[in-house]
Symmetry: C2
Subunit: 465 residues, 2 copies
């Protein structure tokens, strides 16, 4: 861990100097290409700067050119040309990741997939959609038909479904359906392989897991089949509590109440609400808050469960239209964003608390770190059990102290997915690449041209890269 | 427990001899009444005969007349007349209960509510319907609109929604939503009070819990507001396993997999399948089976989860139309019915296994009883945790041995709701009436005329009964 967090900038072959971009472009035909460096550099970034360590390592890395695919045929054209000229491709959706998922480590082509946004078909419970569709647009189209995505990140209004599957892990809705990697939460994927004669592969079921959270290194995702949840009118709520652990205890009880349909339960420690701009006025001084999304038919049941334990300070139908701020944009990693707007000295961690001693574990960690680590917890199902993940806001001092904080969590049974590393392996639970994904990459990207360095344990068997 | 199971037939006032039925009938106006004793006796029964002990106690008990309400106005008429003449009423739906819920302990009027079957309104997630609607009819009407009841008993094709709320506790669907008494699973109820001037009361939220599992003793339920689940095409499956505990282990894993939408997971011990008539040919000799209902979109995910552990011997879309037998009619208490068809010497118990040591606990009980107690388990959520209830088939010898079996389960951490008692209190978890329900009864049935003796701890404060 400390090794990963302190090693130096990745070695790169300095982009354009290494690749014959001019020859490549001749093979791209009429695929729109942008080479204005200011634009390419800007689009080669994501939200890695939440981490001061990643900010140092990834700052300034950029593709050489940006190709904007209009359709799947364009993706095939770009993949073919890049494979032939041994130029890396980094696929990009909304660019909302935090681990440099959209940052080309070795230059090459940044491939914008946001135009692949069409809904191919849907039926009750299932949707097939282009990977570039924004998640908010999917829900806007499906909700009048009675369905919506099961889960989405707090960046739903700018993130694409392809980016979420490639780089996300769960979010709003995981309180009911668990994480994105749990069986049934991704049904199928279509990918373009990175070969001189690129293939279109339809992956179903377990096979589709090869692209789940692989940061786009195991094929270029062009379409996805996702499960749906019934669409309800969601009510956004803020509830103020005297005691943080009472908010956690109530959140746990709520999550365990299967009869109440809910999408979000986020206890947030004071003083985090001081960073909350427009929401600040609904957060009483010194009080800890719980942010919830409850399906309207069960709002009375929710209030009966709450009775007397906390004060509802905000209650309104969830509204994610432009100009509005849905409450989920104060939760998950948006909390960090609000904090960073006020204080650039903070960063964050990614925790998973143990289900069987959840509240005790949160108490221990809080006692250990005080204001140095401010918790907001995300109630979720995980493997069928109720627990919390968390993206606590950390007052940053040195990389050494950050690693110490990580180690202290892990020694005390709180799992950490380190968000201060940029490779798949270092951020993963087992600190190594998923063996299925590693094996699959040999089939679909034998030369290792999909953002080389991102899956760092991959070594091409064939030469040529 | 042993006291309850061995005490004698309830004292009764011998029906017609005690009541002025003639005077009562004059006040019933044009409410249809049946007084043919053969019919009245037949309708005064339910499925209490699953228990040899209840069979002895309740056999022969009957109402004096049967009133068939055409609408809520008729219910008010009957309640008014009965209150004035101090004649008991026993409300009746489909008569599918097992605890004598529909058996008048002290004669009087049996009130048939099955004509109160209209859907008043529905919206996404919520239905308001007359208490007498058959559950299968509700689903038949709602499913084309995309919704269905969250849960139903295995008697869905004959049971009414009012009877289920008054006398049920959960069933097919509880694997997702928990028990009927969990918050959010009953939204509101309308009742007619049992007074000389009967009132119509609208009970919402916690207030509505006053009628939940009160056997119709806390007001005559005329309408209910129930939560709905999205309707999916359900696939009925039988999977054969070499080892019963492997079936249980897989069932548990399935239940913990939140991404797979499911409605039923029932491991059934060999030789219970020998009783299964038409299904017998799909149950290989000596194999234990698991019956499942899986939503069609997640069938591939289900099969991937199963891979190699059991053999699918039956797979077909669930069909509950007349003439068909949906697989849920082999589960829950229907299993007992199939066994009783072959062997009138068996009876059953109602167990709830501990969530935290589920499989070990089932192993222990199986080791203790062998073939004397044959288990089929019903996976369900209970308080947010995955566990099993069970209605094991018991080879019946004596009341003493039955009580011993009950005691041995309880001593080993398996909760038993005794199905060999007919009062609310004896069958309840805490062996006493819910204090809210007891208090509420004073408001809505002050003379104690709703099936007197059923809530045996109720003592009217006013005289007159």
């Amino acid at each position: 861990m400390s090794e990963a967090a302190t090693k130096t900038k990745p070695e790169r072959r300095h982009g354009a100097q290494s690749y014959d971009i001019a020859a490549l472009r001749r093979e791209l035909g009429d695929v729109p290409v942008i080479d204005e460096q200011r634009v390419v550099r800007l689009r080669s970034r994501d939200f890695f700067w939440y981490s001061p360590i990643l900010n140092e390592k990834l700052h300034g890395l950029s593709a050489d050119i940006l190709a904007v695919a209009r359709d799947e045929a364009d993706v095939l054209t770009v993949a073919r040309a890049c494979a032939r000229h041994r130029v890396p491709i980094t696929p990009r959706g909304g660019g909302t990741g935090n681990y440099g998922q959209a940052v080309p480590l070795e230059g090459g082509v940044l491939l914008d997939l946001t135009a692949l946004a069409a809904i191919e078909w849907w039926k009750p419970g299932v949707l097939r959609v282009g990977a570039g569709a924004k998640m908010v647009d999917i829900d806007t189209e499906l909700r009048p038909k009675g369905w919506e995505l099961r889960m989405h990140p707090s960046t739903k209004r700018s993130a694409t479904i392809g980016g979420f599957v490639a780089g996300g892990s769960g979010g709003v809705g995981s309180i009911t359906y668990g994480g994105l990697r749990e069986p049934g939460n991704l049904l199928a994927a279509r990918i373009v392989t990175m070969e001189e004669e690129p293939r279109l592969l339809d992956l179903r079921g377990k096979e589709a897991q090869a692209v789940n959270h692989a940061y786009g290194t195991t094929g270029i995702i062009t379409a996805l089949e996702m499960p749906l949840a019934p669409a309800f009118p969601w009510i956004d709520l803020v509830i103020a509590f005297e005691d943080f652990f009472e908010a956690v205890a109530f959140g746990r009880e709520l999550t365990l109440t299967d009869g109440i349909v809910k999408k979000l339960a986020t206890p947030i420690q004071w003083p985090l609400p001081t960073y909350f701009g427009p929401l600040r006025s609904f957060c009483p001084d010194g009080k800890h808050i719980l942010i919830c999304m409850i399906a309207e038919p069960w709002l009375p049941t929710f209030k009966e469960l709450l009775r007397g334990r906390g004060d509802i300070t905000y209650e309104a139908p969830m509204d994610e239209e432009p100009g509005k701020t849905p409450l989920y944009e104060y939760t998950w990693n948006h909390t960090t964003l609000h904090a960073l707007k006020h204080d650039r000295k903070v960063t964050y961690l990614q925790c998973l608390f143990p289900s069987d001693r959840l509240i005790d574990s949160v108490r221990e960690m809080h006692a250990m770190f005080g204001d140095e680590v401010l918790y907001h917890l995300e109630f979720q199902h995980f493997g069928g059990h109720v627990t919390c993940s968390a993206l606590p806001v950390v007052r940053y001092t040195t990389p050494q102290r950050l690693n110490e904080i990580i180690a202290l969590h892990e020694e005390n049974g709180v799992f950490i997915a380190n968000p201060h590393v940029y490779t798949l392996e270092d951020g993963s639970r087992h600190k190594k690449a998923d063996s299925d994904q590693l094996g699959f990459k040999h089939q679909v990207d034998p030369m290792g041209l999909l953002n080389p360095g991102k899956m760092r344990s991959f070594i091409p068997r064939a030469n040529g890269a």
